[in-house]
Amino acid sequence: MAQVKIRENYHQARWDEPIIYELSTPGERGVLVPLPEQEVKDKAGDVLGKLPENMRRREAPPLPEVSQKHVLAHYLHLSQETLGANLNNDISQGTCTMKYNPRINEALAALIHHIHPSQAEDTMQGLLQIYYEFERFLKEISGMDRFTLQPGGGSHAVYTAASIIRAYHESRGELEQRNEVITTIFSHPCDAATPATAGFKIITLYPNEETGVPDLEALQEAVSERTAAIFITNPEDTGIYNRQIDKFVKTVHDAGGLCFYDQANANGMLGIARAREAGFDMCHFNVHKTFSTPHGCSGPGTGALGVRDHLAQFLPVPTVELADGKYYLDYDRPDTIGKVRGFFGVAPVIVKAYSWIMMLGADGLKEVAEISVLNNNYFQKKVEEIPGVTTWYAKGRRRLEQVRYSWEKLEEETGVGTVDVMCRIGDYGIQHYWTSHHPWVVPEPFTLEPCETFSKADLETYAAVLAKIAEEARQDPELVKTAPHKCASRRRARPEELDDPEKWALTWRAYKRKYKK
């Protein structure tokens, strides 16, 4: 029987690990690449001759010169300084839907490692079949008519949606007139940023203080002949489901706009509600979240974008089609917005997600949604029992798969706020939690999402750790405010410098220029 266990004796390795370039010794080698045989040279001919002069490297790349043993040690040290996925309790990552990544999915994805996307279609029918069938899964889950699996992440898919909307209105001669996209403040920031990048003006709806979702009247006031689309996340990052979503869609449609459904928060709705029945023209999934493929440090990911028939002509090429028993790549789409990523997307992610869905089946997907919502609501009861925690909006109403809580009361009482608690939680071996997108509408926010992966003991342990930290804040606020104490990383002394590009060094060269004079 699993027990509630607060890991009070947790202590992370602190290697004070150098940057790998600092481990470099001139002349040291990790690998000696064998030179090509003469027969291969003769066959290949003058390979470099085809490269234009300006595209050739003048000097050898300045790679770190480190032995194999030291490379391995370096990355092992770094891994020990990380609270990564599948290591402990990942309830912290609200809106990310962190779930167990089954090992069998990794094994299956390894089977396609030797496929090159340029090889003949005849030689990779298995992979194309997986693509084709995975699209059918998503069509069933969402009700959309076609999907592209090409975008490399969630925001990428949302930007693809914005590009398709632009192409759609342009094809109808209305693009100049329809230059406004509506979104909500608790939708994902990319729901505003990507249409803005695609050339639209953004109108953001603010939530009603009671319900936590925008009033329909606010939307009615916002729509006009200038409306191109609404980009909306539902449930929003508060976990509150907008029960009037079909009326929102109808309102925008009546004004001549399109409706895009950001389904990054889809986990609580699989097999229960579909974008089609709410009337949406488009929706997307974060394949690397909802469908269990590993999600970390921004990749690899796939944002699958689905559309109804009237927008299919604009989809990126190629799409995978089936004819005469053979799968093939179809580039014949005259109105396409073009490619949005090389080849046909991130194949390993598709294989892993395909495997996951095949294991679960339709009943399993629905159970995933039900358990994740049940987990979240049980967990919410536990968290709200902690003195100092409040939940804004929609008093007494249930959330779906996550909740945005607030430490506002704790902060007022003790001076310990959400960033302090976020740092302290690492001292118990738990990855720091997600607060909120900016600006913080909910003060001192934290967003927790206990999806179907987590057991009852996991939920209770996490809540117990939060309660313990809240108690620490009352007894010894300085302990929490100077945390973490048992992690490899330290509290930043001058956090404002994070916002100062003059201080940034994103490459080794930049670091040397700025800090190694």
């Binding site: 509506i182 403040i185 920031p189 505003a192 940023a193 803005a196 639209f200 003006k201 953004i202 109108i203 953001t204 709806l205 603010y206 939530p207 203080e209 925008p214 009033d215 009247e217 606010a218 939307l219 006031e221 916002a222 440090c297 921004s298 902060e411 007022e412 001076g415 960033v419 976020m422 997600w434 607060t435 909120s436 997108h437 900016h438 600006p439 913080w440 509408v441 003060p443 300085e478 002394a493 001058r494 956090p495 404002e496 994070l498 916002d499």
Partner: protein, 370 residues
């Protein structure tokens, strides 16, 4: 490091016994008779206690008695006291002390009080040095105050330790308390103090970046200017949010007043209601207005020149509200407020209006007439 510390000991006394504010010795006496206890000292102590970690290196310069000395001692500090002790202190004592601290060059002036106190501080120091208010008044319009005493202490602590360097201009407003007591509210914008500003910084990659306040106002100004139409008169309301519009057009700006622009040229500066009305005859016009103060007013506080008559003549659909996203969020769901004194005009403002928050962004926000 040096902290200037001033407490208005009578601030907030009116609230708990039903009076509105404490200006005037007669009202003060009546408040005392009704059992009012000073609120400001207690709140000031609460804020100052947050600075305990700096006790060994922080020099607190304050006023005698209840104007700061007693509170500093109660919070565990040994302050440097300036000026002479006296039994009854008034606004001139606050101004004199603040002026003295300005000359001494304190790093931050922390003061406890209400709108009247903020006005006194502003009169003394203007924008010449950073200041931060500990809220202790009955109903505070000025945006120079922290949300609550503890957060005032927290921000002061971070600022003095150098963890926080950003300053922003925050509104100093005040009302005529005698009129207020008789049911009429007229609040004026007196100026701006430089206030330490704690932005929430990037927490993780996917959060993206929060636009800085100055950059956002810059973008809003670009939007408004790019939208300007030929031969349309633009009434530019007071405030730091509207100032970048004038700056970018290279026109002189009346920070606390109303300016008129046409074809991107200045028509009139610092105009009164009557002057505005004269310019409106037969002229297509738009109003550019921002949120004034910490209460969320767009009309009726600090920009009374934009009267009910002006608004009626211009037409509600020609009003453009500008504010940063952070400003809107700081209202915490409270609607934008309109109080022109004309019930009919106020009643028109009970729905949603667009607020320009960046070059390509607007927010749909609730507006409410009083």
């Amino acid at each position: 490091m040096k902290l200037g510390f001033i407490v208005n000991p009578i601030a907030g006394m009116g609230g708990k016994v039903g009076l509105k504010g404490t200006d005037g010795t007669e009202i003060l006496q009546r408040a005392r008779e009704l059992g009012a206890e000073p609120e400001a000292p207690k709140k000031a102590i609460k804020a100052l206690e947050i600075l305990t970690p700096l006790r060994d290196k922080l020099r607190i310069i304050t006023c005698p008695g209840d104007m700061g000395e007693n509170e500093a001692v109660a919070a565990g500090f040994v302050p440097t006291v300036i000026g002479d002790r006296k039994d009854d202190t008034g606004p001139e004592d606050t101004e004199q002390a603040a002026r003295y601290m300005l000359n001494l060059g304190v790093d931050l002036l922390l003061f406890a009080g209400g709108d009247g106190t903020a006005r006194n501080i502003y009169n003394a120091i203007g924008a010449k040095m950073p200041a931060l208010g500990i809220p202790a008044g009955v109903k505070i319009h000025s945006a120079v105050y922290a949300n609550h005493p503890r957060s005032a202490g927290e921000v002061a602590l971070k600022y003095l330790q150098g963890e926080l360097e950003t300053l922003r201009e925050a509104e100093v407003m005040d009302i005529d308390e005698e009129a207020f007591r008789q049911g009429q509210v007229t609040a004026e914008l007196y100026g701006y103090l430089q206030v330490p500003y704690e932005r929430q910084l990037v927490q993780s990659l996917k959060a993206g970046r929060t636009e800085g306040e100055e950059a956002a106002l810059d973008a809003v100004a670009d939007r408004i200017i790019d939208e300007m139409e030929l031969d349309v008169l633009y009434i530019i309301g007071p405030g730091t949010s509207t100032r970048p519009i004038m700056d970018k057009l290279d026109l002189p700006n009346t920070l606390l007043g109303v300016d008129l622009i046409k074809n991107r040229r200045l028509v009139a500066s610092d105009v009164s209601e009557q002057e505005i009305l004269r310019h409106l005859d037969g002229q297509q016009t738009k109003i550019i207005v921002t949120v004034i103060g910490g209460q969320g007013y767009i009309f009726g506080r600090g920009n009374q020149q934009l009267s009910a008559k002006v608004i009626q003549k211009v037409g509600k659909k020609n009003i453009r509200i500008i504010a940063t996203k952070n400003k809107i969020v700081s209202l915490r769901g409270q609607p934008l407020l309109v109080d022109t004194g004309d019930d009919e005009v106020n009643a028109e403002f009970n729905d949603y209006m667009r607020v320009v928050t960046s070059y390509n962004e607007e927010m749909m926000y609730k507006v409410q007439g009083l």
